[in-house]
Symmetry: C2
Subunit: 345 residues, 2 copies
C-alpha cells in the first residue's frame, strides 16, 4: 500500500489504488483490499452485498441464467479488482456489515460492533471475500457474503436502525439521496408546486413525502400506468396523480398541466429529460436522479426550447440524507405502503 | 404540415415534424422545411451556417478530408432531414441570416431586414438550401449558404450588432450561455471565490469576466499548459492562474488549492467531473458547461467522495444571455485579447 500519500488524498482512498497509479478509487482497475487498516480507515466484517440492478442483470444474462456461473463471475471480479465493480456496466452496489476495527484518526464516528450499510458505491470500496460466496446461489441481487471491506475518511456509512428489518433499511438507504436533495431544493426555492416523474417508485414516493415535509403544498405524481396510479392515489402522497409515458415530452406536459416550480425525475429510463423541462415553470428547477439521464439531452433540450430552468445533477450525498429517508419511511404510511411490497418482492 | 397542433406544441415546432410523429423537432428524423410560414413563425434568408466542431470533424474524417465529399454530405443531410443534424454526432451548429418574413403572431420581436444569429441548435431548425453550397469548399466550419430557415415561437435569435464583425459575434454568441449562467449562480449564492476549469477558452474567459462583474473577488483560472497560462495571465481576468490536466482529479485539487465556492467547467474533454468536485468547497456549486460531461460520473463521483456540492447542468439559455456576452466582450480588454486570436485563426 502506498504510504507517501497526502492526507487529503488518503481520505479519498488514493493510497489503496494499485492500478493505474494516481487515479481515484472509483476509476481504478485494481484496489488493495488488505484487511490491515490505516489510522484513518475503518474495517467492516461483510455480511451481505447488494448488487446494483444493472450489474446483476448483465451478469445473469452473460451467464445464461446459470447461478453457479454468476457466482464464479462475482468471485472473479472481486479477486481481480479488489472491489465489486462490474467491468461491463461500471456499476457496483452497496453492502452491509459490522464494524470490525476503527483507526484512531477515522472521522466517521463509528464504533466496533455497530451494524452499518455503506452509502458509497462498491465501485470504490476495497473488498476481500473469504467464504467463496458459499451461501449464495447466484440468483439474487442480495448476496450473503463473508469477508472484509474498507471505509476511508471520506466514505459514508449509515448505522442500521434496530427498529426496521434490514431489507427495508437497505431499500430506503439505496435511494436516500433523492428525498434529501428534493427537500433542500424545495426549501431553498420556497417552491409550493412540485411534480415527481416516476412517483410510485422508491425514490419517487420518498421525494413526494420529502417535498411535502419541506413545505410544498401542490404535489403532482406522474406514473406510467393505471395500477401505479391506483397505488399512488391510495398512498395519499400526491394531491394529483396523472398517467403518462415519461419519455414522451408532449404527453408529460399535457398530463402535468400547469408547470411545476420544481420537477423531480425519478424515472429509471432514458429519454425523460425533455418532458421534465416542459413540466417545469420558467425560473423553476429540475432535479435529475435517474442514472439514465443524458447530459447533452438535458442541456441542448432546455436551450432548444428556450426554457429558463435550473437543472441539477442529483447528488447522492446530502448531509443527513440517511436519517431523513428512514424517518420519512417511519412517519409516512403512504411511503410504507409503496415500499413494503417492493421489499417483499 | 400538420395543422391540428395545439399552440403550446406549435411554439416548439411540433407541427414541422414529419417523422416520427409526435416527437419534438430535435428528436425528429425529418422536419418540414417549407418556406411558407405559419402565423407564429419567422423565416430567415440564410447567409452562413456555423457547423458544430464535433460534427465538422466527423464529416471531414469520414470523407478522408475531401472537401467536395464533405459538401455533398452536408447537402445530403439537409435534403434528407430538413435540418442540419449530423446523424453520427447528433449535433448541429448555428446560422446567421436576414429576417425575411415575420408571422403576425410571432412573439420574437424581430423585424424584416434584421440580421440575426440563431441561438437554438441547427438540430431543431427547419432548413432548406437553394445554392448547392456552391460558395463553400467543404474545408471550413463556417459555410456560406443560401436558403431558408424557420424560427418557431419558442426559438431564440440574437440581432447581430453593427459594431462587431460577424465572426466575432458568432464566436461570442456560440458560448453565451456560460457567462450568463455563471453570473446568475455567483449572484444567487453570493459567492466570492470562483474557479474556472478551461479558463483560456471562449466560454472560460467570458465566465471569468462574468463572475467578476457579478461580484466574485477571488478568481482562479485553470489552464492546460504554460502558453495558455501566459495568455490568461496577460489578459488579467483571473487573480490566480494555475496549470493542470483537468482530467486528473488530484492534480486539479492540488492546483486549485483552497476549494472555490463556485467551480465552472468549460473544459471540452471527458473526465473533468471529479476534479471539478474536488475543487469545490462543501456547500458550493459546480456548473458543467462541457457537452463531454458524464451525468453518472458526476453523480456517482460526488456521492463517492461524500461531497456536499450542488451540480448544475449548464443550460444554454438564460434570459439576456446574448446581450450580456456581447457586452462583456466589448467592455473587457482581456476577453478580447483571448477571443480575437481564435476568431482570426
Amino acid at each position: 500500500m502506498a504510504t507517501d500519500v497526502a492526507p487529503a488524498q488518503r481520505a479519498l482512498g488514493v493510497h489503496r489504488v494499485l492500478e493505474p497509479p494516481g487515479v481515484l478509487p472509483q476509476a481504478a482497475r485494481r484496489l488493495d483490499p488488505d484487511p490491515a487498516i490505516g489510522p484513518d480507515e475503518v474495517r467492516l466484517a461483510v455480511q451481505r452485498l447488494n448488487l446494483d440492478a444493472a450489474s446483476f442483470r448483465q451478469l445473469r444474462e452473460s451467464c445464461g441464467g446459470n447461478g453457479a456461473a454468476v457466482r464464479a463471475a462475482v468471485l472473479g471480479i472481486v479477486a481481480a479488482r479488489g472491489k465489486m465493480q462490474n467491468p461491463v456496466t461500471g456499476s457496483g452496489g452497496m453492502l452491509i456489515g459490522t464494524v470490525d476495527a476503527v483507526g484512531p484518526e477515522s472521522p466517521l464516528g463509528l464504533r466496533v460492533g455497530q451494524r452499518v450499510a455503506t452509502l458509497v458505491s462498491l465501485t470504490l470500496t476495497p473488498l476481500a471475500l473469504t467464504d467463496g460466496l458459499a451461501g449464495w446461489d447466484g440468483r439474487t441481487e442480495q448476496v450473503p457474503a463473508e469477508g472484509t471491506a474498507i471505509l476511508f475518511a471520506r466514505s459514508i456509512a449509515a448505522v442500521l436502525p434496530d427498529d426496521l428489518p434490514d431489507p427495508v433499511s437497505l431499500a430506503v438507504l439505496d435511494v436516500c439521496g433523492a428525498p434529501a436533495a428534493t427537500a433542500r431544493v424545495v426549501r431553498r426555492t420556497a417552491a409550493r408546486s412540485v411534480a415527481v416523474l416516476g412517483a410510485a417508485g422508491k425514490s419517487g414516493c420518498l421525494s413526494l413525502a420529502a417535498a411535502r415535509a419541506a413545505g410544498a403544498t401542490d404535489l403532482t405524481g406522474l406514473v406510467r400506468d393505471e395500477p401505479e396510479a391506483a397505488a399512488l392515489t391510495a398512498a395519499g402522497l400526491a394531491d394529483r396523480v396523472v398517467v403518462a409515458d415519461a419519455t414522451d415530452p408532449l404527453a408529460v406536459a399535457a398530463a402535468v398541466g400547469a408547470p411545476a416550480e420544481v420537477t423531480v425525475v425519478c424515472v429509471d429510463a432514458p429519454g425523460a429529460e425533455h418532458g421534465a423541462v416542459l413540466a417545469t415553470a420558467a425560473g423553476g428547477t429540475v432535479v435529475f436522479f435517474s442514472m439514465a439521464t443524458s447530459f447533452p439531452a438535458a442541456a441542448l433540450g432546455a436551450e432548444g426550447m428556450a426554457a429558463d430552468v435550473t437543472m441539477l445533477i442529483g447528488n447522492g450525498y446530502t448531509p443527513g440524507h440517511a436519517a431523513l429517508a428512514l424517518d420519512l419511511y417511519r412517519s409516512t404510511p403512504g411511503v410504507r405502503a409503496l415500499i413494503d411490497p417492493r421489499v417483499a418482492a
